[in-house]
Amino acid sequence: MNAKYRIERGIAVAIAIAALGSAGCGRGRKSGAGDPILIGVSLPLTGDFSEPGKGIQRGYEAWAKLVNDGGGLLGRKVVLKFLDDQSNADRVVSDYEQLIGKDKVDLVFGPFSTRLVVPAARVAEEYGMLFVEPAGAAKQVFEQGFKNLFYAAPAVASEHYNYLAKYLLALPEATRPTTAAYAAMDDPFAKGTAYGLKARLEAGGVKTLVDEVYPPSTTDFSSIAAKIAASKADIVVGGSQYQDGVNLIVALQQLSYQPKLAAFSTAPTEAEFAKAIGNKAEGILAPTGYTPQLKFPSNVEFVRAYTAQFGGPPGEDEANGYTTGQVVAAAVKAAGCAAQGECQGKLVAWVRANQVDTVVGPLRWDDKGRPQGAHMIQQWVKGKIQVVLPENLKEADLIYPKPAW
């Protein structure tokens, strides 16, 4: 009969699963005191995010080398296992499933970009693993109810401009800007930065005259620029990545629009920026989470070791990868363990309750995993980009209003 056949088949399947399961267990590794600490990471090494993905990877590698040269962690060597998720959200899930479930890694580090961090964090959460991540600053990351996630950078996207907002609102009434124009890419990170400043300035009484959101594929910015120029806003804020920021600035220059202040995320921090906008960068502002010049003790060591290893100074992605390593290492040292299971709960509890000194400064987190710092503000002064805010880290004085471009 059919029913009998079904039962038999059910038993067969059950046996097969059991067999596979035990075979799987047989292959799994058991870590002991002398064994290396295996750390699993999935990164976008190919595809859309491959450039920042490789930057994070270099940061992780620099961290592992420095730790191992110094005798390892808890006396054990650290070994990184990288998988390539090809910038694909489905791949990132199966990658972490494999790393945690099959490869039995002792610890995991996060991948790159909001779109990959969220699905990856869900897997880590299911297995109860500590999940420190180097990217994924958008507010959506922290609205998923994750308990084990911590972002290893000074601030989430919407807080990047906090120092600038404070500075502008503290200006005397005669020079304080009263109107602003915003243009932001339809991307959680880029838009998050511009809208964070917008919310603060609006609360401080600065009127919004233009609020434009453009798709990431936009290449012609003449119409957006026309709107901004026609509004004659005192200041212009761009929630940009790289090329869109350059294009918008050139389009604004073509319209002879001269704002008192121009702040763009990401683009101005790139080395080729000034040349790309015809060397008229003087006075343009950008928030940044990291510069190699930072004087924190571990950063001096990091920059020296990184430069020796890779032949050039680290960028923000590399620093964020390295910071992730520092945070996890601090937790491992404090908890005295690095393994799956109970240990992970101790690690999470420690990170939540403590402050960690990193290459981007001291970091601590709120109950959602949001770091409680702020980004520095950089400005193009005398032909190079320099930190102007906050006061205690500045390399040059902030120029306001900015010279004509």
């Binding site: 798709p215 119409s223 026609a230 319209l255 790309a276 015809g278 471009w405």
Partner: protein, 295 residues
Amino acid sequence: MVSAALVVQSLVLGVLLGGLYALLAAGLTLYFGVMRVVMVAHSAFLIVAAYLAWYFHLRTGLDPLLSLPITVPLFFAAGVAMQRLLLARLHPATRTMMSVLLTFSVAVVIEGALGTLFTGSQRRIQLAYSGASLELLGARVAVVKLIAFALAAAAMLALYLVMTRSRFGQALRATIQHPEAARLVGIPTDRVVGYGFGLGLATAAIGGTALALDSTIYPSLHWRWIGPLMAIIVVGGLGSVLGTAIAAMVLGMAMSLLQIPLGTTWAQTVFYLALFATLAVRPQGFFGGRLAKRF
């Protein structure tokens, strides 16, 4: 409130944009006219020309406009070769349908080749006059946009003169209007069709150079051009160069003006709304002649 200055500014930008659309759509409608093929790879060739202009500027440091004497004959020859070697081999009965598949694959190959050669990074030509502008009718007009428009207008005029004043143009129009009759009066239609195709691709060379002056380019950019261009040639009437030019101007201005109330994302839909409206109300297009009706 929307200021008059912003409207004027947007109108001027719309005219400048429309000029470039007109030139590119002219090539596209020419292919359809001479051989009833839908050339999906037209905008991919446009990006190739833009990359050549960029690369030329990068290597020589000379003005990208000087790359035209190289790219225009090159593209003309490529057009003739493509017609002879690929499109002419399609069976006439299914040529229109199959040409979509064939040229689609050509577009994908071009995109892949550009990505391999120049990587996926966005590129932009940096010229001494990139940020310069002139005051015109109370609007600020970027010099690079003006040059691009002048280039497009000159190319359109040249195309118009070739089509109406030269013997080759007469032969080409005869071939478009009635291939069999043209053959009967002794026109070598096969050769004429090949040259017509070359002419169409030459417009992509000029358009690509104009595009490279004031835009970021990357290998997959062509997909963003082909949609609006297809919409323009349908609205203008398939095969009608003049109708295409008018439709391009009208839609270019409409998009530019609609960006004021709607924003960048939604203003792009004007091309497709115009396409739907045309198909529903006047499927032969607003300026199309017998050709479009017959199709």
